[in-house]
Symmetry: C2
Amino acid sequence: MTATGTGAATATGGATATGAATAEERAKDDEEGGGGRSDAPPEPRLAALREAMERERLDCVLVPSDDPHLSEYVPTAYMRRGYLTDFHGSAGTALVTLGGAYLWTDSRYFNEAGLCLNADHWQLMRQGVGKVPTINKFLTDLAEEKRKCGLSKPLRVGIDPYVHPASFVKDLTEAFDAATKDFALGEGGDGDEEASEADPANLGEIVTLESNIVDEVWGDERPPVPTSPFRVHPLEYAGESVSDKVAKIRKEMAGKKATMSVFSALDDVAYLLNVRATGDVSTCPVGIGYVTVTNDDVVLYCDPAKLAAEDVRAHLDEACVVHMPYEDAVPAIERHVKASRSHRVWIDKSRANYALCDVVPESRLVDAQNAVTPMKACKNDAEMEGMRRAHVVDGAAMANFMAWLERTVVDEGRSVSEVEVDKKLTGFRAEQPGFVELSFPTIAGVGPNGAIIHYSAKEGTDLLKSLDTTQPILIDSGGQYTYGTTDVTRTWHFGEPTEQFVEMYTRVLKGNIGVDTMVFPVNTPGFVLDVFARKSLWDGGKDYGHGTGHGVGAALNVHEGPMSISPRWGNKEVMKKGMVVSNEPGYYEDGNYGIRIENLLEVAHVDPTDDICEEEGREKPPGQKTFLRFDKLTMIPIQKNLINVKMLSDEELDWLDSYHSEVLEKVSPLLEEGSEAMAWLKKSCEKIHRS
Amino acid sequence: MTATGTGAATATGGATATGAATAEERAKDDEEGGGGRSDAPPEPRLAALREAMERERLDCVLVPSDDPHLSEYVPTAYMRRGYLTDFHGSAGTALVTLGGAYLWTDSRYFNEAGLCLNADHWQLMRQGVGKVPTINKFLTDLAEEKRKCGLSKPLRVGIDPYVHPASFVKDLTEAFDAATKDFALGEGGDGDEEASEADPANLGEIVTLESNIVDEVWGDERPPVPTSPFRVHPLEYAGESVSDKVAKIRKEMAGKKATMSVFSALDDVAYLLNVRATGDVSTCPVGIGYVTVTNDDVVLYCDPAKLAAEDVRAHLDEACVVHMPYEDAVPAIERHVKASRSHRVWIDKSRANYALCDVVPESRLVDAQNAVTPMKACKNDAEMEGMRRAHVVDGAAMANFMAWLERTVVDEGRSVSEVEVDKKLTGFRAEQPGFVELSFPTIAGVGPNGAIIHYSAKEGTDLLKSLDTTQPILIDSGGQYTYGTTDVTRTWHFGEPTEQFVEMYTRVLKGNIGVDTMVFPVNTPGFVLDVFARKSLWDGGKDYGHGTGHGVGAALNVHEGPMSISPRWGNKEVMKKGMVVSNEPGYYEDGNYGIRIENLLEVAHVDPTDDICEEEGREKPPGQKTFLRFDKLTMIPIQKNLINVKMLSDEELDWLDSYHSEVLEKVSPLLEEGSEAMAWLKKSCEKIHRS
């Protein structure tokens, strides 16, 4: 499954707007209607929100999509932006002023958001398009205009400190500071040499609200925060005890002179405590909670209902993990800070909400990647064993499914809807041992729907299509098994593809092989490898708009940091032995088709003696480098008759044959001899005709 | 010619030292002797310097290699570090305390510096090695120790503000600030809850000296600052008038709200004013001076002797460039700042000395890449024509030289010393029309000397070797012509290379072809391409320690920013049409041999209609990307019998044949029919045997 697009501007990016019109007027000019049309009947949610804003003397309120753990997938209770705007896409931030209402989202969602928003009241702000300002630019412009109107008080921007990353608040604060300076300079520039040099009053003020102001409006309709119970993630799969993980964290804390570490990302919490949960966050096996580690204790802050299971309580007791109420996390951090002037708290500001950080003075806060992140990213032997098993099992499920699909579409000549594809595939996965749920919502797109990167087929929609032999289908799917997580994409075509389709399929495949076969020294950032996925497409003057690879958790989130293989040059995380990453180049023709070939890969040493050196902490002789390579996890054939063999080198053809022979060897023992799945797998894994 | 190594830690990097010993004691422990041995007889230069330091109440003085223009090659008058330490390598910074003396340099110079320094008085600080602290870390440690000794006054560090980049002073200031905070925290951490929360006195203070303190010691022995006259760089080669360049700069200044632009890099000055000079800086056709541009004037600050030529004065007059004394640059900037509160000065702090920036308040300084940098990097048609011509001419010189070398070594069986190689090659270049001087000191290294990246052969040294048929030679050389600048590396072997040498030569060649044949979209940073130069070496578990490509000036400096092709991920400059870059993968076996294959390349549009679109400012239809490719400038054959053809693909073999046919076509018209050079060229450009 692809991670976020590569080129999409973030809300805090750098687009600018100029001209004499106010920020709000300009926004209206850019769009049809929206943003608070004066002749529209009142919108009850916005009206109630504005009433609360006036009580709090706020000029505007920010409503993001985030939960307090900054999760990628968010429980419904935290979908405040969705509730307020009716737009439920994964990315988007609403800004409500007393006179207008704005939604920023990225190019993936322009279409959907345009359909969902009530244009009488809402203005769509298309991030990264032409003159559309970023949220920060929009806010600083608003603040300048307020000042220009002679109002000396700063623009008051209300936020719920629990649902913004601390880094966002820092960026906005800096934007207000810079705008204030610039504004003062502009005033001074009018020739008034005598004007005071004293610091001008700030143009903007971020007001952290005691409770979420949208919840007041949502009232009893708001769904409860989920309280699914934790289950123990057995040592057999986790590979390392909680005590050992805590010991490692404490060692890192000593190095950083930190006396407390705060973990707020839900996969960090689940990984650290060797627990999992189902239901809190759909497709992510995590439960809502925070953890703090000091030299004296490990505390889990969560709803008591999450500890309902006896074995979970025993498991946490054994690791000396203490339980406290969920709401006590921030006060506990504050108490720790106040207990001694030598106490220092380690929080990764880019991955923690502002409320957690706000109680720690800047000089006492260690803002760095937390100690769990690198541990979690580099899978240990037990975790990797589970991941390998999950992928073989997943290969068997896919063979069963593909045999059914091909028979149904080709032999029986029946069209199969994208929704049926999803259901049937999920059904085959569910038959496998240890299956828990999907690892993300299946993307099954026939023809043009394959070109919609995060497409989700829904019954009864205009977009829904059915698969027959005239069009290809892109299927991106994965499973959560108790022992591992999978994620695979293939594009299939049961009819006669066009020559152009075959050319592009082959270029995508060459890109996949390009990354798969790379050998590279340690300390190589992921982005260095990205270009090999694109080389063949670039040669043909084409490209794709998403990254090539994301990290994947071990029986954990399908998107896991810190590394990626993508043209986000800012992510300098290097590839390390034990990491699991996706390799998913693609090519998309809007309105026509989508191609993506995705395998998960594990990072391994080229020279196995490096494993021993690493374990024993021995250093290489000077001048000698350790090299890394990829091993394939995904065990699912690549459709051979979509390939132009003339475009592949002998080495690339060998690669394909060797992969198919590995797939056959590993997956066939899980299939019944003589079954249609076995027949499909054998046929699919035959050597490719080289002419 | 390779740019600086990829992995070398900079002086401001992050190594740390720990333990109870003082910074100076630790430094002595790490090394044999040095740093101020108490029983050594006094060193007169250091003694005189310390006398001056005591007068200025300084604890230490920094003596870098830089001139006021932060040039790569420095006039002797500015080689203060060389004078003081006897070490004359291009990189190194000296620090003298009242009791010790230290020289930091990088791995290229460990050997040379070790031999040059007087170990009784100097301590070599090997940057990037083990526990060796950076200069900043060393200074903050010293400052902490001073405070711990109960001295409340800060450590006073003397600098000449003209020879440090403004960014260095900023970094050191921040290092002192951070250390001061940390130190106060450490004090507070001892349990003294009542200690004052007030800002602690800073541990360190940077003292900007009125005049250079080393020059006091150097006295009359110091060579004068050179005053070579400027010559006009004709419009025929420059392609754009000074007035047009100034107009573009003023447009950029308006966008940045800057009222003055300061240009201090000597190639910026030469480019902007369409002048060149020979003699101020060896191998660089530039003259010493600053330029400021405001909306009212363009001022050149330089020694009047530089304007001795009538035509230069007329040329500058025509462009309304005013002359002022060299020493007036800083006062002029200060006057401009004070003239109006709306005045803002644009200086690139990373490329300008601290004295220029120090007179501009932070809020009035626009710190960004200056407007000349991108103009200079993207060559116009006239500049590119000159560059192409220079490379064909250079190819003819090299054919003459190689024919002579092969005859001498192979046919006559004579050994040719590296120094003779340099002289002879320079002689053949000097015969070409418009030749001015070399573009950098020739690197000619036989056998193991080829593995010394910045080797310079010198008569009478132990290292000097002679070429015969038993060993390879690496020759990296280039010329300054009035119309263009060249830079090329080849490794030659006139005997029987080993199989391993041939394998590595072939891998290096594959790397060169890998970069050369890349097609990539606009907005691709140079570092994205670097990995294609390394891929074949990585496949074999090998690598090289320098970057792959640097920018090259048009009849200007051989190393020119801002772009590079290298694993310096911090340099996000993207490749653009009209840039000229080197492509020079290599492989080095210490004590054995060096291989490097370097061509200069120009960046061009894949689709020539993009040239028209660009000229007319038309945008592409949405979704369509503009792609770039490289054209070869260097016209010098690659030795075919060093290649293992089995390791090259058909496409790579085609590439070689096609390159050689282009070389023959372009260079042969400059050679005499029937000459030995022509025979050498024809033979060298024959198609390669494919089996």
